[in-house]
Symmetry: C2
Subunit: 288 residues, 2 copies
């Protein structure tokens, strides 16, 4: 029995599924305090059998590098009651014979989109999600990138559009990519939430300009075969086409992978990417 848990800031999903990441049965419920939230997931799983392995896709920051003291734990977080809680320890106590594999929610979604979604068949895929913040997960040569902590794609810096003096909304960095192109940044800049801006609003050219520059850094550093851009703020019709066009322009012929015009694509799995990724983590090991 392969099990997955997607632990989000407001909702949690627990599921059993197939080795190729398909959900057989799932249960969604609100995320509350850690013992209570994991307790609900454990009870739901126990009613269905003994998992042989459990994949967890969790909100960050979390310790995901094995052999570090913080492995398996929620790190410093403003979310009350969660800092220091051991996700892996809690599940290992409940299911002592199960293999337990933990990764970030965005890495799990990247794995799912790469294996059974918009990056199917590719071993070098970047997945970016744009909502309240901007996050990124990267599969490189078939391995999820973890690094010393984990990627925080939203907080890199990009050039400013000529004449743009919007200060940005990131409380740490002001005009990092997240401060310029996340949902709150769009709302602050245009006075309207992203989902209310029509597809022909100039906001989307600005959005495409900044996202293309962030993606150029991805191309220069990890050379993905495809970049999947999703999240609540990327639903506007034609946005991916605008990003592709701007990326080809600024790459200036130098990066062959981007030249096809369909390099930046929307996700294929929608809201299911996280839980499918948790199942893939469970079935395939950590990939890293």
């Amino acid at each position: 029995m392969i099990a997955g848990i997607e632990l989000g800031g407001t909702k949690t999903v627990v599921a059993i599924g197939s080795a190729d990441g398909r959900v057989i049965e799932e249960f969604r419920f609100p995320t509350t305090l850690p013992q209570e939230t994991l307790g609900v997931a454990i009870e739901w799983l126990r009613a269905r059998g003994q998992p042989t392995s459990i994949g967890i896709a969790a909100f960050g920051p979390i310790g995901i590098v094995p052999n570090r003291a913080n492995y398996g734990k929620v790190l410093e977080t403003p979310k009350a009651g969660w800092a220091g809680f051991s996700l892996v320890g809690c599940l290992a106590s409940a299911f002592p014979t199960a293999g337990i594999i933990l990764d970030t929610d965005v890495n799990a979604a990247a794995l799912a989109e790469a294996r059974i979604g918009a990056g199917i068949g590719l071993d070098d895929v970047a997945y970016i999600t744009i909502g309240t913040g901007i996050g990124g997960g990267i599969l490189s040569g078939g391995h999820l990138i973890h690094g010393a902590l984990h990627p925080e794609f939203g907080h890199l810096k990009v050039p400013r559009m000529a004449g743009d003096d919007f200060p940005g909304t990131c409380s740490f960095h002001g005009d990092c990519l997240e401060g310029l192109a996340s949902g709150p940044a769009i709302a602050a800049r245009w006075g309207t939430p992203a989902h209310e801006l029509p597809a022909d609003h100039p906001a989307w050219e600005t959005q495409a300009w900044y996202l293309a520059h962030g993606i150029l850094s991805l191309v220069a550093i990890v050379s993905p075969s495809r970049v999947i851009v999703g999240g609540g703020v990327c639903q506007a019709e034609g946005l991916h086409r605008k990003i592709n066009a701007r990326l080809i322009e600024i790459a200036a012929g130098y990066f062959p992978p981007v030249l096809g015009g369909d390099y930046v694509v929307p996700p294929a799995l929608g809201q299911q990417a996280g839980i499918c990724g948790a199942l893939l983590l469970a079935s395939s090991g950590n990939e890293g």
Copy 2:
């Protein structure tokens, strides 16, 4: 017998060495045409025995992803006579029983610095070299990053320093990082070659500012445990300290790995990194 070949634009090194990347004996000679250059290396190796494996660290662009049609070949290059030449094919003909592993010169140097140099003991290390161009090699979770082509770190874009209107020297992108911070960029901006600028020249604050912003993108995307910055343009006393200070400032407390103040360091292997990396490629497989 473990063999390594470092194929550079102007010189080639062939060596035999130990499984841990130490050179036992080496021979340096000018790089000329491909058959002639490889011929010298093959003859030198044959006089010493039959290699069980050969690592090649080569100037780019080269095809380094197995199972692609261009694997093992030199790709489009202005270097006369080399485009389309199969490095792996040539060596496999000469030594049919040897395992042959190819990577870029900068990836090989990154591997050597990570395993036996300034990043010893770490599995997440970035290596940047700054000279005529800017290149980067990344070891992530113990695997060298290849991607769809290979990283071209120098060609990402960074913000501009307030008031800096230097147009940059990159023939593709103008003011990409390479166009702002490579050796030719420094020479064009200050009218003096980098090696003639004194350590207290304001050029080095500008250099540190731009390099710190490029490194911030590395931190956000692959989260290295350490960044090694080398190459002919990084010899100025105190430059690494300046980069560290600027990086801590722009990270603004958000990226714990960078906070120690010794995150950006000089290389430890100097001119030997490439050939040591070729030997490590030969002894350990491609890591990717």
